[in-house]
């Protein structure tokens, strides 16, 4: 195999579309390794090399394997097509638009700066979706693992939402049964901002300024002034609405939960479930088996450190306007507000559909945000106690 003929650019683009955090530097790294003599023995060696360079977890390895097989299959098909063509009709190699053109003709490092753009930034092409073009004549077969499909869809829908401003619901079609406007990576990035550093624990850090002050006062160093280290003491309670109108958003809720737990920054994460609107009880499990009363949950919250994030559609998914629900929700919010300072509401339904529903009314008593990237960031901003554009009660 000749390096120039390998569809590495294709592979690279496909992986980026699937959400792997790759930049042009990673591509150069691959070329550098190939020149250094790695990964040129056979196809497996190449796959191993690409994996070592580009893949950072087992999940990504699955995505990689899938795309590598796809790209290689196409490459071999096109190679045979091209060779048969050139042998029969050598005179007109350019006039065969059906023949898939692979970046074999491209120089390895394309001069255009396109690949340096990060995935979520709006792509330069005005088309909203990566429509299979002529260069992809064979639509990929069904992926072998569902999870892969899932991850690809996340990236695709994030891509969609990025390229067609924020009107994802009006984009006309969605390929996926799940609505996933935020990728896991974006969630993780957002969670990292949720922090409340507190000096706590044994005194181990030298406070230089205080020590200098003390020497100035006393004229001699008697003992250094030590302070405890800063640690993150932010505690998050996630209240998740389950079942009913929330069924389409279960996987989104799960992602939210998973990234909050594994994001690592939270001092303590509590996750509770409810259905439609919490009344007296919250549940520790999605099946609503282990109940806890509001009092029990509230007693565990710290007034200064805890923050509460509610994930629910607030009736916006079905477009219902229910006064009972509104009253119950407000009663529940009031009880929590007496105990916790920072609360926010994340609504998976786009904002354009809140008016005339219960959600639109709840929006007046608690900061409510759409579940996209800016919304998640704003919600976390509220949980940190930062002012946002929220105009509570202004309507």
């Amino acid at each position: 195999m000749i390096i120039q003929d390998l569809p590495l650019r294709d592979l690279f683009d496909q992986l980026r579309k699937s959400g792997l955090p790759l930049g042009v530097g990673e591509y150069e790294l691959l070329l550098k390794s190939l020149i250094a003599g790695f990964g040129i023995a056979d196809q497996n060696a190449l796959a191993r090399l690409c994996k070592t360079l580009w893949v950072k977890s087992l999940e990504e390895a699955q995505i990689f394997d899938y795309h590598f097989a796809e790209v290689m299959k196409q490459a071999i098909a096109s190679e045979t097509a091209v060779s048969s063509q050139t042998s029969s009709a050598k005179t007109e190699p350019q006039t065969t638009p059906e023949t898939p053109k692979f970046p074999a003709s491209n120089p390895p490092i394309a001069p255009d700066s396109e690949p340096t753009q990060l995935l979520p930034t709006p792509a330069s092409n005005p088309e909203p979706a990566p429509i299979p073009s002529l260069s992809e004549p064979t639509e990929p077969a069904l992926p072998p693992v569902v999870e892969i499909e899932d991850e690809i869809q996340v990236a695709k829908s994030a891509f969609l939402s990025a390229s067609s401003s924020d009107e994802i619901a009006d984009a006309g079609f969605l390929l996926t049964s799940d609505y996933l406007p935020v990728t896991k990576r974006q969630m993780k990035q957002a969670w990292r901002y949720l922090r409340r550093p507190v000096r706590e624990g044994p005194c181990t850090e030298l406070d230089v300024e205080a020590t200098a002050n003390q020497i100035a006062r006393q004229g001699i160093l008697l003992e250094p002034v030590l302070v405890p280290r800063r640690i993150n003491r932010s505690e998050l309670v996630l209240l998740i609405d389950q079942d009913g109108s929330m069924v389409p958003f279960h996987s989104l809720a799960e992602r939210l939960m998973e990234t909050a737990l594994r994001g690592g920054r939270l001092g303590k994460t509590g996750i509770y479930y409810f259905h439609n609107c919490p009344v007296d009880y919250l549940y520790r499990d999605p099946g609503h088996q282990e109940a806890e009363t509001f009092e029990q949950v509230l007693s565990r919250l710290s007034p200064t450190r805890s923050s509460v994030l509610i994930f629910s559609d607030g009736g916006a998914a079905r477009g219902s306007d229910n006064n009972d629900r509104l009253e119950l929700t407000e009663a529940f919010l009031n009880r929590f507000k007496q105990r916790v300072r920072y609360m926010a509401w994340l609504n998976p339904v786009p904002k354009s559909r809140w008016p005339e529903t219960t959600a639109g009314k709840i929006d007046r008593s608690i900061p409510m945000f759409e579940c996209d990237r800016p919304g998640l960031q704003d919600a976390i901003g509220v949980l940190r106690g930062r002012p946002t554009n929220f105009a509570g009660g202004a309507k």
Partner: protein, 317 residues
């Protein structure tokens, strides 16, 4: 073992310490038998001068890899064991400000009069102590730096290391020193137990390798090479077979995510077995496994095994 400056470094995984050899700290050295993919990844990390992030099941030899590479290439080995309180700064240097203050006071009080001593305490460098990363950057030859269990530290820790890992330089403001490591950049291994996700900006700079569980032949090689006195072949085979059976049971019961018996536990277990007469042990291996405590570390695991064992016995009867 030959380390000529002109020759590029290449790890083969074939040079092993002689049996009973010990390192400079008196720790015993053991052979490390990597598979070809791992060797390739290590060489890639050496050539591209990027850190190699190693993940894998607990007890599969993530930490030992760095030691083995350092041994074969005859390079200095600098381990940095991360704790939950570790700060990135500590890895580069620490500065004893209190000590400097104390000495300055003693000098001004006339308690230190020796001119040599005064010269020493006037130099701010006296109070600066290099951390593992600081040492590795200044090593005369390329050093092998191990950053062990990076996921234990605060989530900001990896991001705090980005500049140092990227540009291989750092500044000590207290002494106004600037340290470069241009041609002798350390070979860096990072291990993670996946307790926390690492930030993408950090991952982007690393190469990644997932250590797979060794195959049966490789396991028997590991056991044969591990001990001073090579154990009997039939004993090794019997032990490994039973061990793999146990691992399979655990895999079926607990799925891929649960903790399974690992290579390091196999070595411990076998270390006890080999101390007994071979015939006796092989007879024991055919019944309920002896010394289960070295293999199964939780009551649940014991129950899983005992249930399975009982079922098999009933079937045999």
């Amino acid at each position: 073992m030959f380390n000529e400056a002109s020759k590029p470094l290449k790890y083969t995984g074939t040079v092993q310490p002689p049996k009973g050899d010990r390192d400079e700290n008196g720790q015993p050295l053991y052979p490390y038998l990597p598979n070809d993919e791992l060797v390739e990844a290590v060489n890639l990390a050496i050539t591209l001068e990027r850190p190699l992030l190693v993940k894998g099941e607990p007890g599969c030899g993530k930490t030992k890899l760095a030691r083995a590479v350092a041994y074969e290439l005859n390079l200095p080995y600098i381990p940095w064991n991360i704790k939950s309180t570790s700060l990135a700064q500590d890895g580069i240097y620490t500065y004893d400000a209190v000590g400097r203050l104390r000495d300055a006071q003693l000098a001004s009080a006339g308690r230190i009069t020796d001119s040599e001593e005064i010269k020493r305490i006037e130099d701010p460098k006296t109070y600066r102590e290099w951390g593992p990363l600081g040492q590795a950057f200044q090593s005369e030859t390329r050093a092998v730096l191990l950053i062990d269990e990076i996921d234990k530290a605060d989530i900001d820790f990896p991001n705090d290391l980005l500049l140092e890992l990227d540009e291989r330089r750092f500044i000590v403001p207290e002494t106004k020193e600037q340290i470069f490591s241009l041609d002798k950049s350390p070979i860096i291994f990072i291990t993670s137990n996946d307790e926390k996700d690492l930030p993408d900006a950090f991952l982007r700079r690393c190469l990644f390798h997932y250590l797979k569980f060794p195959r049966q032949e490789r396991l028997s090689e590991i056991l044969t090479n591990r001990f001073d006195k090579s154990p009997d072949e039939p004993l090794v085979q019997a032990a490994i077979e039973r061990f793999l059976e146990l691992r399979k049971i655990m895999q079926e019961e607990k799925g891929d995510a649960g903790k399974k018996v690992s290579t390091s536990e196999l070595i411990d277990w076998f270390d006890i077995l080999r101390r007994h007469p071979v015939d006796e042990v092989i007879a024991k291996l055919n019944g309920q496994l002896p010394y289960l405590g070295t293999l199964l570390k939780s009551w649940d695991d014991h129950c899983i095994y005992l249930r399975q064992f009982k079922r098999e016995e009933e079937e045999n009867e």
